[in-house]
């Protein structure tokens, strides 16, 4: 290192000098801070030069500072020599003072002023060389200390990165576990603030620009006044019609507030995404639970409905009767039965509730209860329909009603009294293959709460004549191209042209025909039919 010497004065012997330098190296190496190192340097050098006054100055960004704690650093720095262009140091030797300036490895300048008070001997060139050596020791130990500090800072920084990654993973797991009362965004805000060293943060949930929720970290971190604070870093996502915005402010450091960096932004965005995913999962989880609950309800309703339907139909002497109900996936609202009446007749009933699901099943259940009660009471058919219309009106919502077809059969005479409550036409097949449609009756049950005057019609079934009651699940069965069974295979044609020897066979053949038409297409409505033939 080149220095400029200005003048000259005297020191101790070489042995004493070496010992003092060794001692200086040992003492200065143990210092943890520049301030501590400077204080030790002043003690060691001052002692070597017999208690002379020493000031150690340092210049980092223009201004000089006395790092040994002395006053008037700026004024005293005026006594320091100025290195010539291209030189890294300069020194001045006078009889009662030595002054050296040197550049340190970190780019700062260090300056020493050693003053001899009183009347002792004057400084020599050898003294100046010794002081230079002391400064070299200072420089080396400072370099070592800086390296140690850098190493410590690096380890701290690496540990902090590990901590950030670990916390990111942990937070992801934690927010995904949160359900019910605790919401994941508060935890994420805390973690984001601590991982980025933000002094405060806020989460705002807004809908259409209006703040629905606002939470600050730490509590009470909201600025005075109502105006939202800008600046810092932010991340946002939309969910459920709301916008969730995280904002962090005032990145802390030991030297004051510093700007957030790219890593901070990435961390905040990652945490924000985790919360977004967590909220979506929470929503889907709740939806799945709700669906599961609905499916359970539907299963219960289906079970109730299946219990209402007849396990077997009564044997009617001189007749053959068969029925079927094939429910679709969801609970439907179809019903059929053949109920012996107290007077020896039989009530054949088929019904279809508008709509599906649990409400439809419940309405069928009510219908069944009222029907059996009224039949036991021996009500005439039109009165039965009128009563059912009233009670179903009161038991159902506005959009729920029941279409039904009722046929009272006197098996001894073949007499048949029928009534259609808004149901699709029922067919009687005569022995010559012609079909008679039975449509007389009235409005669907429960459609209007009024004393509607239903009408019935009568006919007599002759030998070999057949009656088919069915619900719209048969004519409206669809194939994969959404074509209706009724369009390609009119039910009337099937009934007219198909006359197997038994009712069971007819029902089986009809269902097979429908299934052949629909193929693998899902069944979207209940299929129900009741078939009677007179031997």
């Amino acid at each position: 290192m080149k220095e400029r010497t200005v003048a000259g004065a005297n020191p101790g012997g070489p042995g004493e000098q070496v010992e003092a330098l060794q001692e200086a190296f040992r003492v200065l190496s143990g210092a943890g801070t520049l301030k501590e190192q400077s204080a030790r340097f002043r003690d060691v050098v001052g002692r070597y030069f017999g208690g002379d006054e020493l000031a150690l100055l340092r210049r980092t960004a223009g201004d000089w500072e006395d790092i040994t704690g002395g006053p008037e650093a700026e004024r005293r720095s005026g006594d320091l020599p100025v290195p010539a262009a291209g030189e890294e140091g300069a020194s001045v030797l006078e009889s009662k003072s030595m002054r050296i300036v040197r550049k340190l490895p970190d780019g700062s300048d260090i300056g020493i002023i050693l003053l001899r008070r009183g009347t002792g001997r004057t400084y020599t060139e050898s003294d100046l060389n010794t002081l230079r050596l002391f400064l070299t020791v200072f420089e080396n130990t400072y370099r070592e200390m800086a390296a140690r500090k850098n190493e410590k800072d690096l380890i701290f920084s690496l540990n902090h990165r590990v901590l950030q990654l670990n916390s990111l993973i942990d937070t992801g797991i934690e927010v995904s576990k949160i359900a019910g009362t605790a919401l994941p965004h508060h935890l994420a805000l805390e973690r984001a603030a601590s991982l980025t060293n933000a002094s405060k943060g806020v989460l705002r949930v807004t809908r259409g620009g209006r703040i629905e929720e606002e939470g600050w970290f730490p509590q009470g971190g909201a600025p005075e006044g109502a105006a939202p604070r800008s600046g810092g870093i932010s991340a946002a996502f939309d969910f459920g019609g709301e916008t969730y915005t995280f904002q962090l402010f005032d990145k802390e450091s030991r030297k004051g507030v510093i700007p957030f960096d790219e890593t901070d932004q990435l961390l905040l965005e990652a945490l924000s995404k985790q919360v977004h995913a967590s909220l979506e999962n929470l929503y889907l989880h709740r939806e799945a639970l709700e669906k599961q609950k609905i499916e359970q309800d539907i299963a219960v309703a289906a079970s109730i409905q299946q219990r209402i339907l007849p396990k077997s139909l009564p044997v009617i002497k001189g007749y053959d009767i068969a029925g079927i109900n094939i429910p679709s996936k969801s609970v439907g609202g179809d019903y059929y039965d053949c109920i012996p009446l107290p007077d020896g007749r039989f009530a054949m009933v088929i019904a279809d509730v508008a709509g599906k699901g649990v409400p439809a099943a419940l309405l069928v259940s009510s219908f069944h209860a009222y029907l059996t009660a009224y039949l036991e009471a021996g009500l005439p058919l039109v009165d039965l329909a009128r009563r059912l219309n009233r009670v179903i009106s009161r038991a159902s919502t506005e959009d729920k009603f029941i279409t039904g077809f009722f046929a009272f059969l006197d098996p001894s005479s073949g007499g048949l009294e029928t009534l259609s409550a808004g149901h699709n036409p029922v067919f009687v097949r005569h022995t010559d293959g012609t079909l008679q449609e039975l449509i007389l009756g009235g409005i669907p049950l429960g459609m209007i709460d009024m004393d509607f005057p239903y009408q019935s019609e009568t006919l007599t079934l002759g030998k070999g004549e057949r009656l088919l009651l069915y619900t719209d699940g048969i004519p409206e069965a669809t194939d994969n191209r959404q074509r209706l069974y009724e369009e390609d295979f009119p039910l009337k044609e099937f009934m007219s042209g198909h006359v197997p020897p038994g009712a069971e066979t007819f029902i089986a053949d009809l269902i097979a025909d429908v299934k052949k038409f629909t193929g693998p297409a899902p069944q979207n409505d209940d299929i129900t039919a009741l078939y009677l033939m007179k031997h």
């Binding site: 380890i155 901590l163 670990n166 916390s167 942990d170 600050w216 730490p218 509590q219 802390e252 450091s253």
Partner: protein, 122 residues
Amino acid sequence: MEQPFSLTSELRDNCLVITTSGYVNNVGGEAIAAEFARHFENGTKQVVINLGQSKVVNSVGMSFLIEIIERLQEVEGKLVFTDLDPAVEKMLSIMGLFQYAGKEKTVEDALASLPGGEKPGR
């Protein structure tokens, strides 16, 4: 949500017990360090820091805690953390603080663990 920082302290048999509440950040770390320095200058070498009410610590706050540990090491002193929230405990562990500082469940356990410390129930 975490509260703003505050602390209380007491001396128990020459051991400084600092109890914090809220975010241990620059402000919190400085407050802890200042409280420690005040007692350290008077010769206190054993310190217990109860972080039970501090669920969030940032790295600036941690740097103050590390400084306390280093200063205590120079005089063969000891720092013990207590009542740690699992997340905070993990943070301190990753940052390597438990290589040089202890951790106990409670302040009483910490005092009992220190040389010549109070035994539980005393």
